[in-house]
Amino acid sequence: MIRSEVLRDIAPILRDQLVICNIGLPSQELHMIDDQPTNFYMLGTMGLSSSIGLGVALAQSKKVISIDGDGSVLTNFGTLPTIANNVADNFILLIIDNGSYGSTGDQPTYAGKKTSLTAVAKACGCENVVECKAEDTGKVLQAALDSNKMTIIVCKCESGNIKLPVITKDPVVIRDRFMTAVQS
């Protein structure tokens, strides 16, 4: 399975949750598959999906899922100790690890080589870290939601992209409808 197939698979679970979605293709894919006001699409700023999601989770009580990538976590490694030391049990970090920088042409990342993001997250002090096969992501994500425990999921999937349009929604519109959804 490639990332867009994983997102299609878990879209019914994401639908009812607050979702922070990573820059580039992940946001474009989720936007095309199931656009929701509860989705916050990152149009820039690679690496900060987990930081934004943790901020939302610490600020209010609804559950928040940050969809991140292996390349993006590598670019903001400092996020994992911050997450580990500021536990928000309404927060799930879903790292879709395809071992490549998908949005820029599938250049390999170190996560696809010797570096295990699962081991790094554990070493940083994250307590509930689950690595799963792409096919099991829905099951693992639902279990994490049901556990009411902050969870880091590392979903190992294949690299590969589908053709799709960029998001043309105005950023302030994306932000405003997301904030309205948070408050509703």
Partner: protein, 167 residues
């Protein structure tokens, strides 16, 4: 009242309840004061762009965020300020130690100080410079202005404002 207490009192009076910090020697007292206040969730960040991500999320979750950092961070955070804080139109008071100004003992700090105001100006970030103790009287108004206009706003605080480096 100490200047650290006054600054954090103004934060609290303006509803600031989520503060991320990356330390600087000059900001140690104000960071201690932030940590001590029950009204404020203090979340140390490992890098300033990470901190700005946390602040963006906290704002969308209903909090009033602020970041405390050194001016060297302006070099680190240009992309985040532009593509997150400004692009999505979010408020962010930035209390910044303005290293590399008068009384600075470390030459390398001057290298970033000479670019600080030029960068902030280029980014169209409203910028206030606290040099004398009394300049902090405007902090309350600056915070109100920041949350009125939904922009990042810089408050540069130099060594003279903090009373030197304890030499």
């Amino acid at each position: 009242m100490s200047i650290n207490t006054k600054i954090v009192d103004d934060f609290v009076a303006n509803g600031v309840d989520f503060v991320t910090t990356v330390p600087c020697k000059q900001l140690a007292g104000v960071i201690d004061e932030i940590e001590a206040r029950e009204e404020i969730y203090h979340i140390p960040a490992n890098k300033e762009d990470e901190g700005m991500g946390l602040c963006a999320g906290a704002f969308m979750g209903g909090k009033r965020p602020a970041i405390i950092m050194q001016n060297t961070a302006i070099g680190v955070t240009v992309n985040t300020l532009v593509t997150l804080t400004q692009f999505y139109r979010m408020p962010l008071p930035m209390l910044i130690s303005y290293r590399g100004e008068l009384k600075e003992p470390v030459a390398c700090q001057v290298e970033m100080a000479v670019h600080t105001k030029a960068l902030l100006n280029q980014l169209l970030i409203p910028t206030y410079h606290f040099h004398h103790k009394s300049d902090a009287d405007e902090l309350d108004a600056i915070l109100k202005y920041t949350f009125m206009c939904n922009k990042p706003v810089a408050i540069l605080t130099d060594a003279t404002f903090w009373g030197g480096y304890g030499e």
